[in-house]
């Protein structure tokens, strides 16, 4: 308690917002790599690889991100592995985002018409060549709108990193609130900043969806 909201507090919030963006990028890149591998495993000709990757997706999609965060941040140290809040948050987001992006991208790859595979096979391309030269370029166009839409989920989900003490936007708001005790004002500002980050991406995603035909329902809370 003491003082009122001043420029220093806003600077601190701005710094937190930068970390929110940074953490989102970590989640997007890490989860993108994981998701790409998952998507390829899900359509692998090998049955065991398919089953394992499907199991991974089911497990992660049935668990809240918050519990994954707690598991990496509080759970790993009890096994003797110490992790920083940034590592824990980055790893949790990678694990979580990987499962969702993997499913989105698997759907995109599978919605490339079957004759495309057959034609590529008929041209004597190997499986890797078919994938890289024929299927993936088409799948990418299908995957773009839902992937951009999912980026909004990633940004919102980084707010959960605050529970492991990582100072991003939500956490910096909590810290300021602890000294000023004006929760309603501060959380309104935080909400507005999140909105400013997410809304443009939502708009872009919607425009891409309209351009590319039937809209996919985007799911997600948090």
């Amino acid at each position: 308690m003491g003082g009122s909201l001043n420029a220093n507090h806003l600077m601190f919030l701005g710094y937190g917002a930068l970390w929110t963006i940074g953490l989102s990028l970590i989640g997007l890149i890490g989860g993108g790599i994981a998701g790409f591998i998952i998507a390829l495993c899900r359509i692998s000709p090998n049955r065991i690889v398919r089953l394992l990757s499907a199991g991974y997706v089911q497990l992660i999609q049935g668990t809240p991100l918050l519990v994954i965060m707690f598991l990496t941040y509080f759970g790993l140290p009890t096994l003797g592995v110490t992790v920083s809040p940034l590592t824990a948050a980055g790893a949790s987001l990678t694990i979580y985002v990987g499962a969702y992006l993997g499913e989105i991208w698997r759907g995109s790859i599978e919605s490339v018409p079957k004759p495309q595979w057959e034609a590529a096979e008929g041209l004597g391309l190997s499986r890797a060549q078919r994938m890289i030269k024929v299927i993936l370029p088409q799948a990418m166009r299908i995957a773009t709108p839902p992937t951009v839409g999912f980026m909004v989920q990633i940004i919102k989900n980084t707010s959960l990193a605050s529970v492991v003490g990582f100072v991003e936007l939500a956490r910096s708001g909590q810290i300021i609130n602890n000294s000023l005790f004006e929760p309603f004002l501060i959380y309104t500002i935080i909400a507005v900043i999140y909105f400013a980050l997410c809304y443009p991406i939502s708009r872009i995603s919607r425009r891409l969806e309209m351009r590319s035909g039937p809209a996919r329902l985007s799911l997600g809370t948090a």
Partner: protein, 227 residues
């Protein structure tokens, strides 16, 4: 890395976990029921010919969908407190989750409404059905039937997201886990167990929605379309 896991010390606390899981299901149930009501009303509002009504519904949906649940929960929690209203953490959690899922449900059901062919509504008008009758018989039930799988996924995600209400100390599953792990120092085992419980809860919810779908949409069963 010294792996010596002791699940026995955690499983000993099963009554606490059971209570937490039941509270999680209660939160999910309340938010699902109220969220569906808000979703239907919101979707009707968004399609309203009255610009103010559709504008307000649109702002509600966009504001909720573009901000994190955590921040929404804090806003409801402290917002009610600053109005001088005191509610239990459970009530605040249920309210925040309802407001949150209502926006997503609005968007899903609106997509369902939009997918009803124009000719169906014109035919109903031709049969001199009132506006309310058209919405109820011709638009709403077929629309909900169409988006039922999306709604199911959304409500399962809501149940998982209810873990965030542990931050305002609603005593649901994650809050129980936090308490148990600080008591036993067995964080890894606790959260693994809780993750398994969440997976089981989501399977229970999916099964529940599947059964509900069989009862509510008999046409779907007759036509053999998968849920």
């Amino acid at each position: 890395m010294n792996l010596n896991l002791d699940f026995a010390a955690i499983i000993e606390r099963w009554p606490a976990f059971l209570d937490g899981a039941l509270l999680t299901l209660q939160l999910a149930f309340i938010a699902t029921v109220l969220g569906t009501v808000i979703g239907v009303l919101g979707a009707i509002g968004r399609r309203s010919s009255h610009p103010l009504v559709s504008r307000i519904c649109g702002i509600y949906v966009e504001a909720i969908r573009n901000t994190p649940l955590l921040v929404q929960i804090f806003l409801v929690y402290f917002g009610l407190a600053s109005l001088g209203l005191k509610f239990s953490a459970f009530a605040v959690a249920a309210a925040a989750l309802t407001i949150n899922v209502g926006a997503y449900t609005t968007e899903i059901i609106r997509a369902g409404f939009d997918s009803i062919p124009r000719g169906q509504i014109e035919a109903a008008e031709g049969l001199a059905l009132s506006k309310a009758q058209i919405y109820w018989h011709v638009v709403m039930w077929p629309a909900i039937e169409k988006v039922y799988p999306s709604l199911t996924s959304q409500f399962v995600l809501l149940m998982l997201a209810s873990s965030v209400t542990s931050q305002i100390s609603a005593e649901e599953l994650t809050a129980v886990a936090n308490y148990v792990q600080s008591d036993t120092y067995r964080a890894f085992e606790t959260y693994i167990l809780v993750a398994i419980v969440y997976i089981v809860l989501s399977l229970i919810m999916r099964a529940g929605f599947w059964l509900l779908g069989l009862v509510v949409f008999p046409r779907r069963r007759r036509l053999g379309t998968p849920l």
